[in-house]
Subunit: 507 residues, 2 copies
């Protein structure tokens, strides 16, 4: 509670508005409701509630009420864990009739406070829906319950020589239903595209309890509006995804990587062009880290540090990964690339370090992936997950730094560092401001400054994490009035009573 | 007129229902409307109308009123060819106020009668909106007016070493706005995925004349519902697409192909698996032709016939195409594949013919692509463009043949041949019944038989061509009641007056 209070004072815009409108419309769960839920659900352990008829201890509900970052804390009294779509449907129907808010919850790894209640909504956890429904090893099409954990699906298709079309740090906990609901991006997007392309079908329980069955296993189906697309990235505000049909690509036979040190940021783009042309279909990642981010990763022991000689004069670094069907071919392409880069008359890079074995491969990736952890070790981070044109990556970092400097905040006592890293291939920049502590001054210096900067480039204030509860007030920086008005109309026809994940995405 | 009559007698369900409901709601264009349109449009040549104030000759309107197949003929009096989004917006606003139906028209190459009026709606042709708005050679993101012809965009990005993510036989006439509106599939889908993944943004004039600007150039943008997805494949029934932002992939440096003769259909699937594994990321097409289709292509001089020895004992053929970054590597992979196929203990193929040069490459493709033309030379075709599980391709063809035989129709005088060909990789089968003439007996033997067959496999009655005016009555074979009801709700909120492409997609 005190945590919520503390946070909400700082970000009053985020919490007060949805709360006030909700309060008047939605009802709290009663003991009678809980008794009814117990009848719907086949197993007694599927209902957790602190209300008398069940009397779960409040602590048991904490992991459901509290989000991954420990920033948002809901006050739900009741968590339901249905095992079938039919059970989900009956719960939702009841809640709709009784005007009880529902928060769909997957692995609860979301980073924008979307997966926990703002007040005392029921939490509907998908974690008991974990059946693979079918897999066709020829087409690679997987049909599965929404509650399957991403890692377990990866393991499931591996023996058939397939991989999931997405991969992300939270794979051991996040669920495929949560991935689809957040339209998760992650590390494979450059190669396998977005979930809007690879999700072939969905089964969704709509806010009135009816079941929308679009769980096809067809790669091509042009029979009317593609309604399932609306639920991809809707963060549980339009319905509950219970089943997912998804295209899994064949596993690459070989992977390799190289880290390149660049004298100037300006070289990143021509380098990207060259690498794309030479590596073509085997290029699977092109990740950018600025010097500050690199130094931080090294300082906190993330991955394999390059030698002093190798980093000398480097303004930034690029990690290039290849995934292909034949190791010799891929290595030849990568070697030729490095040779041509180093032998160029005006070289784009200072130096390049090629992984020689799986251990080196992992430690180069650890340099890039370790930035997140290094940031959290270094201090309190203001994280902006934005999409801007590739050419403005550096400008965004520099202007933010300048802004903090001009406010007198860029000193060891307040802000320690401003760093930029991210997926160049996707135009996705992670702009992180690392402070000693979260303070209103820093917050005010950064917002709406960063959002306005993003808007000036017609960028996105949320490239992959979504809006959740955290960014509802910033939505208008990336979507114009007409778009927001249409989102509201869509929300209103699917969920006229506003029971589905209230206060998220739309204020 | 007589043509429409003739057709509508046979397919009364298609025409009568929408007509009757339309008749009561929508108004015909008056001369006053035409005068108003002339004021909106900057150039006089942008208005064609047989009404007095313009007096275009009726013949000039024929190409707009008549569809590509010559099957559908509208009675529009007026064609408008705006040059800007603003002009489109003003036209639509006027039509909405006056309850005048609008048919958006691109290249008019659609194959389901979607692009021509059912009655006398205004035709809004996008053919004057042909500006490329921007192209970023680094990200490959192209932003363009909707009226640009696919081939001209292909030519536009070629010098930058990029290609369009889709390719189809109609590329010389069809427009990118039409492609998006039909969610066109075509020859590159296996490799580059569907337009739901590669279209990044759209600008759409909604039925009330307002402009929905979601023309972003971001690969990642998770800020609320992805509304643009609704317009991809909506066939002009929800609004008019005026601008498209699309991701264009780097051009492959080398392409190759091989045709494989198979003793049994049953081998197609294991073959597909083997080929996918060995060619991995360079596999760009895997096309299936049954023996009857092959013989027909050869009979009508399409492509290069194989030798007698090569086709002996072949029940069907597969065309495999590779596209990759380096010729030597691709050739090596393809050669190794062929060797391992031919040397297997129980070979999946009888023989394989590899293209040795660009001319042979084209003539192997011509064998596959020429089937369509051969069919039209051979007789009148009943064409079913369906998605079914790969394993049922042959069954679908065999059962259809059996059905016609059991009705006594499979003889030279009525049905000449039943053939199957298509995109194995996409699960898309073209089932064609070639008759001497279109007759009610054949039609009745085929429908709803084929649709029911498709439905029994949870397939799609329209894999890539859409619903248009032709298949509104068959929609329910691929979409359940809930889905259709939701489509209707979506239609109703976007287009409450039903002015946008009336009678298409939904009855
Ligand atoms: C270490 C770490 C690394 C991460 N890396 C990435 C990354 O690289 N890319 C990226 O995009 N994200 C990343 N994330 C964010 C997060 O993991 C993803 O968004 C993930 O997809 C969320 O899945 P989940 O099952 O945990 O969903 P939850 O957190 O439980 O829920 C997320 C949202 O989806 C809704 N929801 C969940 N399940 C359903 C359902 N079945 N039906 C309807 N709505 C549902 C919830 O209501 C909520 O609004 C990362 C998070 C962590 C902690
Ligand atoms: C020889 C040939 C080969 C073909 N091959 C393929 C193939 O391989 N794969 C495939 O999928 N299709 C194929 N088609 C079908 C057709 O070409 C495609 O559907 C194409 O995408 C239609 O584009 P168009 O500009 O001609 O649209 P049109 O035919 O003008 O219109 C098609 C539909 O889209 C709507 N529409 C058009 N432009 C707009 C707009 N700007 N805004 C809103 N609505 C609009 C129309 O109202 C209509 O409903 C083929 C057709 C031919 C003739």
């Amino acid at each position: 509670m005190s945590r919520l209070w503390h946070w909400s004072r700082r970000c009053s815009r985020i919490f007060t508005r949805p709360n006030s409108s909700l309060a008047s419309q939605l009802n709290s769960v009663t003991d009678a409701d809980v008794l009814h839920f117990s009848k719907i659900l086949s197993s007694p352990s599927s209902v957790l509630s602190i209300l008398p008829s069940i009397s779960t201890s409040p602590e048991e509900l904490d992991i459901y009420n509290n989000d991954w970052m420990g920033k948002y804390f809901g006050k739900s009294t009741t968590v339901l864990k249905p095992k079938t779509t039919e059970e989900v449907s009956q719960i939702v129907k009841w809640c709709n009739d009784k005007r009880i808010g529902i928060v769909p919850q997957g692995g609860n790894t979301g980073l924008v406070g979307g997966s926990v209640p703002l007040r005392d909504e029921v939490i509907l956890s998908l974690s008991n829906m974990t059946q693979v429904r079918s897999f066709d090893p020829i087409s690679g099409i997987l049909v599965t319950d929404a509650g399957c954990i991403l890692q377990s699906l990866t393991d499931y298709v591996a023996p058939h020589n397939h991989i999931m079309p997405l991969d992300l740090g939270a794979k051991g906990s996040c669920q495929i239903g949560g991935n689809v609901s957040t339209n998760a991006g992650g590390l494979r997007l450059l190669r396998y595209g977005s979930l809007h392309g690879s999700v072939l079908g969905l089964e969704v329980v709509l806010p009135d309890g009816s079941i929308l069955d679009q769980l096809t296993t067809l790669r091509k189906d042009n029979t009317g509006y593609d309604l399932k697309q609306l639920f991809i990235g809707a963060e549980g505000t339009l319905g509950i995804i219970t089943g997912v049909s998804i295209l899994t690509p064949p596993a690459p036979q070989a992977s390799n990587n190289v880290i390149l040190a660049l004298p100037r940021f300006e070289n990143v783009l021509p380098l990207y062009k060259t690498v794309k042309r030479q590596l073509s279909e085997i290029l699977s990642a092109f990740e950018f880290i600025d010097r500050t981010a690199y130094d931080l990763a090294v300082k906190h022991g993330q991955g394999r540090a390059l030698s002093e000689e190798e980093v000398e004069g480097a303004e930034c670094f690029v990690l290039v990964e290849t995934s292909g069907g034949r190791r010799e071919h891929d290595e030849e392409k990568l070697n030729d690339l490095l040779e041509s880069l180093l032998e160029a008359e005006e070289p784009l890079i200072n130096t390049g370090v090629l992984a020689q074995n799986p251990a080196q491969f992992s430690s180069l990736w650890a340099l890039r992936e370790g930035v997140t952890e290094a940031v959290s070790k270094e201090g309190k981070a203001y994280k902006y997950d934005i999409s801007v044109p590739l050419s403005t990556f550096k400008e965004c970092v520099d202007l933010t730094r300048e802004r903090l400097r001009s406010k007198g905040l860029l000193n060891g006592d307040q802000v320690k560092a401003v760093i930029g890293y991210g997926h160049v291939g996707d135009g996705n920049l992670h702009l992180n401001v690392i402070a000693k502590a979260y303070t209103p001054e820093i917050q005010d210096a950064l917002e709406p400054f960063v959002f306005e900067l993003v808007a000036s480039h017609r960028g996105s204030v949320s490239a992959e994490h979504g809006i959740g509860a955290m960014k509802t007030h910033a939505l208008h920086y990336s979507k114009d009035e007409t778009s927001i008005a249409w989102m509201k109309k869509i929300k209103a026809i699917f969920d006229p009573n506003g029971i589905m994940n209230p206060g998220k995405v739309l204020e």
